[in-house]
């Protein structure tokens, strides 16, 4: 109870609340600009959080990500350009509703269901995380090794359309983590005599490069202006919410369950939760033919899944130190830089931090209703910011942010190189999220792998002999084999059709 009160005191500090309000403005603005993602918003924020205490830093990240994810719905509904990948699942429905003159309902459902989904996800986080942390205290290096493998596998196989390319991206990230002094023997590897490389490739400049610089390159090379919104005036967005909720309450709850279930998987993330929730909604709908043509049902389920998953992503991050998404990967990077290794021991050593994080989720989701309303009303002003001014400003921000980590231009070099690699990868269908997750998990994976090898004397049976390690191993290997099963199934269907 003392830890809870201490957590509440930390969150309701005027400075922290001010940071959260500023982060809300920032997250809403970035999320509402077509092409700028929630991940990019958080990546740009990281250099600033580096100078904050843990609670305001976490508050800023949580608020920014929640606001940006919701705000992605606005350009989706008004311009048919989803602001974030998670909003992409139901953009056609929201846009077609706007064309029919129902923008208020599409956006109102977006903000209210997002906030409600976020609150339910937060409740699950509060209940599940401490319980799982108790279990995690008994984990050995074998369990952590398999958890890291599972996180990477989910990111590579489940969270991308191309599992092969996802796996290559993941291995590239792991290969990058071999640069620098190795975790056990302290031996320099692949540093080529460059002193700055002894510390390895900094995760923050890498994140800025992958998520911001590659996007700036893409936008500056496209130089297209956004089409005008089909309906500029938006009336009362809360008008028919009650009616929609009474009609689709089951879809709302199912969306939450899917979002939380997918979000809590290490490495899967909430974006994929929204897509799966939309697909499930269509599959079990009484009117699947209406989906994609301006139907609210799929929006209710997917937008709830979005924000519920956002909270659930923090479960593996806080409990095991294994990120559930790119955003929580960044959070782990920030906490490690502050000298705190996320994991079950944080629940024992810094319980106030955990409770503070929980409370922050509730505050951020309540703030979302007010700021969401504000953002919808002022959307046309956000659109008026010329890309030609915004992109150079963000680029300077990226340069300073990468420099600020070690006060060295080497960070800027890392940012540029990773930005170019990410640009080429994305142009050719290689997802970049597995690369970043691998860069965060690389050290954890290597440390637990080598320690387990030393403990077991290289005996592979020891890796699976403990019950939880065995279960995690089976799940991980099953996910590895999923693409092969899917390919065999498609082949069998094709052969059957040919016969």
């Amino acid at each position: 109870m003392d830890a809870f009160l201490e957590g509440a005191r930390l969150v309701f500090d005027p400075y922290v609340l001010m940071v959260m309000v500023a982060a809300a403005f920032y997250g809403i603005s970035i999320g509402a600009i077509p092409g700028l993602t929630a991940t990019m918003a958080v990546a740009l924020l990281i250099p600033i959080t580096f100078f904050m205490d843990p609670i305001p830093a976490l508050g800023a990240i949580i608020t920014t990500s929640a606001m940006a994810i919701f705000a992605g719905d606005i350009p989706g509904a008004l311009l048919r350009i989803p602001g974030t990948p998670a909003s992409g699942a139901y953009t056609d429905d929201a846009y077609n509703m706007t064309r029919k003159g129902d923008a208020e309902l599409a956006l109102g459902v977006g903000v209210v269901m997002s906030a409600a989904g976020g609150l339910i996800g937060s409740v699950v986080l509060v209940i599940a995380a401490p319980a799982l942390a108790e279990v995690a205290l008994n984990f050995s290096t074998y369990e952590y090794f398999w958890l890291a493998c599972m996180g990477l596998t989910c990111a590579a196989v489940m969270a991308s359309d191309a599992p092969l390319k996802g796996a290559v991206s993941m291995l590239l990230g792991l290969a990058i983590t071999t640069i620098g002094v190795d975790v056990l023997a302290g031996q320099p590897r692949f540093t080529f005599g460059v002193t700055q490389m002894l510390e390895g490739i900094g995760i923050i400049p890498a994140l800025i490069g992958v998520f911001a610089v590659s996007e700036i390159l893409r936008i500056c090379s496209a130089q297209r202006s956004s089409p005008p919104p089909v309906q500029i005036r938006v009336g009362n967005i809360f008008k028919d919410i009650g009616k929609v909720f009474r009609q689709y309450w089951f879809q709302f709850l199912r969306g939450n369950v899917i979002g939380i279930g997918i979000g809590a998987l290490p490495g899967a993330g909430s974006d994929i939760g929204a897509w799966i929730a939309y697909a499930v909604s269509k599959r079990f709908s009484k009117t699947p033919e209406k989906f994609g043509k301006g139907h609210i049902e799929g929006i209710v389920e997917a937008t709830a899944a979005n924000n519920a998953g956002l909270a659930a992503e923090w479960i593996p991050a806080l409990v095991f130190g294994i990120p559930g998404s790119t955003i929580t990967a960044m959070v782990i990077g920030v906490l490690i830089m502050k000298g705190m290794q996320p994991g079950p021991t944080v629940f024992l050593n810094h319980p106030e931090l955990i409770y503070g994080t929980f409370i922050t989720f509730f505050v951020a989701n309540i703030l979302m209703i007010f700021f969401g309303f504000l953002a919808i009303k002022s959307f046309k002003h956000i659109l008026n910011i010329p890309t030609g001014v915004l992109m150079p400003t963000i680029l300077m921000f990226c340069i300073i942010g990468s420099f600020a980590m070690n006060n060295s231009v080497f960070g800027i070099v890392v940012m540029l190189v990773l930005g170019l690699i990410s640009y080429v990868m994305e142009e050719n269908g290689f997802p970049t999220a597995p690369l970043i997750l691998a860069m965060v998990l690389g050290a954890i994976l290597e440390q637990n792998f080598l320690t387990s090898m030393i403990k077991s004397g290289g005996n592979p049976i020891d890796f699976v002999s403990r019950p939880i390690a065995g279960v995690l191993a089976v799940i991980t290997i099953t996910i590895w084999l999923l693409p092969a099963f899917a390919w065999l199934r498609r082949r069998r269907i094709r052969l059957a059709k040919e016969a």
Binding site: L174, V389, T393, M453
Partner: protein, 157 residues
């Protein structure tokens, strides 16, 4: 720029070979059965089947299109310059910021980029000064990031 998967496959195969050879040359640590070379070796071996998969996938599409397909925007000088200007700006900052200082480097970069992308040259200079001032106050004054002064050192605060 779309590149055939087979080319990526060959690149990753070469990367795996380099990683493996690099790991082989690492010294053995006395008393440690598994040294710093093991992990890079495992990664390099894991790369091989995936790289072969990319080569197979790429070869199956080899005849349906050119191995390297240049994107449409590369043919537009305006868009190509926009792309190159971003890279050139970062390189310019890396090379010049220490000597010219943050203020001059940032104003030059922002003026050129905003001028090119927004097509309003004079407004871009004013905006560049304002944005640079805001960034400097925020990062240098509030967050104590030691942004370089360069030639403006005599008038630094």
């Amino acid at each position: 720029m779309k590149i055939n998967d087979a080319i990526f496959g060959v690149f990753f195969l070469l990367l795996a070979a380099a990683l493996f050879v690099g790991a082989l040359s690492m010294p053995k640590i006395h008393g440690l059965a598994y040294g710093p070379s093991l992990y890079p070796m495992v990664i390099s071996i894991a790369f091989v089947p995936l790289a072969i998969g990319l080569i197979v996938s790429g070869l199956s599409k080899w005849r349906s299109g050119p191995p390297i397909e240049i994107s449409d925007w590369v043919r537009s000088p305006r868009q190509l310059i926009g792309f190159c200007a971003v890279i050139a700006s970062v390189l310019f900052y890396i090379l010049a910021a220490e000597y010219l200082g943050f203020w001059i480097t940032s104003v030059l970069i922002l003026t050129c980029l905003i001028g090119w992308l927004w097509r309003k040259i004079w407004v871009s200079l004013g905006l560049a000064v304002v944005i640079t001032a805001v960034l400097h106050v925020f990062f240098y004054t509030f967050l104590f990031v030691p942004l370089p002064w360069g030639v403006l050192k005599p008038i630094s605060w």
